[in-house]
């Protein structure tokens, strides 16, 4: 049998013949190419087939399906959170740029860490060393200030610069030198050294009270000049006895007066 008849028969049985195809079909039947008897038998058998009840799946199918779906859903959620990290890692290592960026950041991190750690160790060492140095310097200075030779004591005063502000022992030693040293030059040096730190109230006070202790005119005049510089009004009172003393040379008195007048 020709293929075109078979197609037509199938359409006839299924009832899907279009108007044009139906005419074609009927012509073939009339001409005896298609056996209507055989065709009707096939159609009735198909009818029987279609009457067959549709097989029903059991409830287990539905239960299993929804179980599986829930499981898959859970997996999907888990995966999506894992994916973020995975994507990041992949982005980092799959391209040359990513790898370069990763290497560079590791390098920077290393440099930074190295810097932080080594610097802290280094600064710690330096600090303790300079502390030791300062201690030694102080001891040396004290010894020198008590020395017999004038030049040694002068050196001692010079060494004190840089130690004064933070160390009360040094300040006291210098004030002691200023008040009691027998050599004028040493006293002047001590005064110059202390003058640098006159902003400190304690040192300032020590300086003012030291005025009355002075006997050398040179030191007195230097003191007066310093007081003018500091605009220390308290100093006027301290100078009173010196100005009134009979044994103070007149030149000194006038020099002092000139200076003290400048204090407001």
């Amino acid at each position: 049998m020709d293929d075109k008849y078979m197609s037509l028969i199938t359409e006839y049985i299924d009832g899907t013949l279009t108007e044009v195809r139906r005419e074609e079909f009927e012509t073939y039947v009339k001409d005896g190419f298609i056996d209507m008897k055989e065709l009707e038998e096939l159609a009735s058998m198909q009818e029987q087939m279609l009457q067959a009840p549709e097989p029903e799946p059991s409830e287990a199918l539905r239960t299993n399906f929804y179980q599986m779906l829930a499981e898959e859903n859970r997996k999907l959620k888990k995966r999506s959170s894992r994916d973020l990290f995975g994507e990041f890692v992949q982005a980092l290592f799959s391209t040359n740029k990513g790898r370069l960026a990763f290497g560079f950041s590791v390098l920077m991190l290393g440099l930074f860490m190295g810097n932080v750690f080594s610097r802290s160790a280094y600064t710690g060492q330096v600090e303790s060393l300079s502390n030791q140095m300062a201690d030694m310097k102080e001891v040396m200075m004290m010894t020198m200030l008590e020395g017999e030779s004038v030049s040694q004591r002068l050196k001692g005063v010079q060494m004190s610069s840089g130690l004064v502000s933070e160390n009360k022992d040094v300040t006291d030693a210098l004030l002691l030198t200023l008040n009691n040293d027998e050599n004028t030059n040493v006293r002047l040096a001590a005064l110059a050294s202390l003058a640098e730190y006159a902003e400190d109230p304690a040192i300032r006070e020590g300086l003012v009270s030291s005025i009355t202790q002075q006997k050398s005119p040179l030191v007195m005049v230097a003191m007066a000049e310093l007081m003018v510089e500091l605009q220390e009004s308290q100093a006027k009172k301290e100078f009173e006895p010196i100005l009134n003393a009979e044994n103070t040379p007149d030149d000194v008195k006038s020099a002092l007066r000139q200076n003290l007048d400048k204090i407001m």
């Binding site: 293929d3 075109k4 078979m6 197609s7 028969i9 199938t10 359409e11 049985i13 299924d14 899907t16 038998e41 096939l42 058998m45 198909q46 029987q48 087939m49 279609l50 009457q51 067959a52 009840p53 549709e54 097989p55 029903e56 799946p57 059991s58 287990a60 199918l61 539905r62 299993n64 399906f65 929804y66 599986m68 779906l69 898959e72 859903n73 999907l76 999506s80």
Partner: protein
């Protein structure tokens, strides 16, 4: 289905509700085994989830789904064959062993059972095209897409399969009447 593809797996429930019975019918007509058919239906949906990214949305969803169903059945068929089943005899036996079927066969007319028996005697490709066209009610065009044939070739095959079924059926009838 496109929503499922986009990761909204819950939408698969809708597809399941629409297609689980036709799919089950498809497998059951081919295997005559309730348990196997249900497993195969489940596997179709597992595959839909697994391969959802391959669904392009251009063809019909049902065609895409039947593709998977056919592949799964082919896998199943191969496996059974390797285990040494003689398909036609075995499926028929199993059909009667299945309690529900036995129950149903009592109620349903004898002809219907004989039809199923005759269907089981057909070669797989003929059985399949009859199931798709008659029981699944698929259009020629969809069957053609699924089987990669022309529409007229589909019609020709349906006719040939139907005719062979009739021959088998008559033979069975003859055997029943004769003894």
């Amino acid at each position: 289905m496109l929503k499922v593809k986009a990761g909204q797996l819950d939408q698969l429930g809708l597809l399941f509700e629409r297609y689980n019975r036709p799919l089950y019918g498809f497998f059951f007509k081919l295997t005559c085994d309730q348990e196997v058919s249900e497993d195969l239906v489940q596997n179709v949906f597992v595959r839909i989830i697994k391969y959802r990214h391959t669904y392009k949305g251009d063809g019909k969803f049902s065609t895409w789904m039947y593709h998977m169903a056919r592949n799964l059945f082919a896998d199943h068929y191969r496996k059974e064959k390797r285990r040494g089943y003689k398909e036609d005899v075995e499926t028929a036996d199993r059909y009667y062993q299945n309690e529900e079927n036995a129950e149903r066969s009592k109620i349903a007319s004898e002809e219907l059972d004989m039809l199923q028996l005759a269907l089981n005697k057909l070669p797989e490709d003929k059985k399949e095209i009859l199931v798709l066209s008659k029981y699944q009610g698929m259009k020629y065009k969809d069957i053609a897409d699924l089987l990669d044939l022309t529409e007229s070739a589909v019609k020709v095959r349906i006719f040939r399969a139907l005719k062979e079924l009739k021959v088998c059926y008559e033979k069975l009838e003859y055997e029943v009447v004769k003894p």
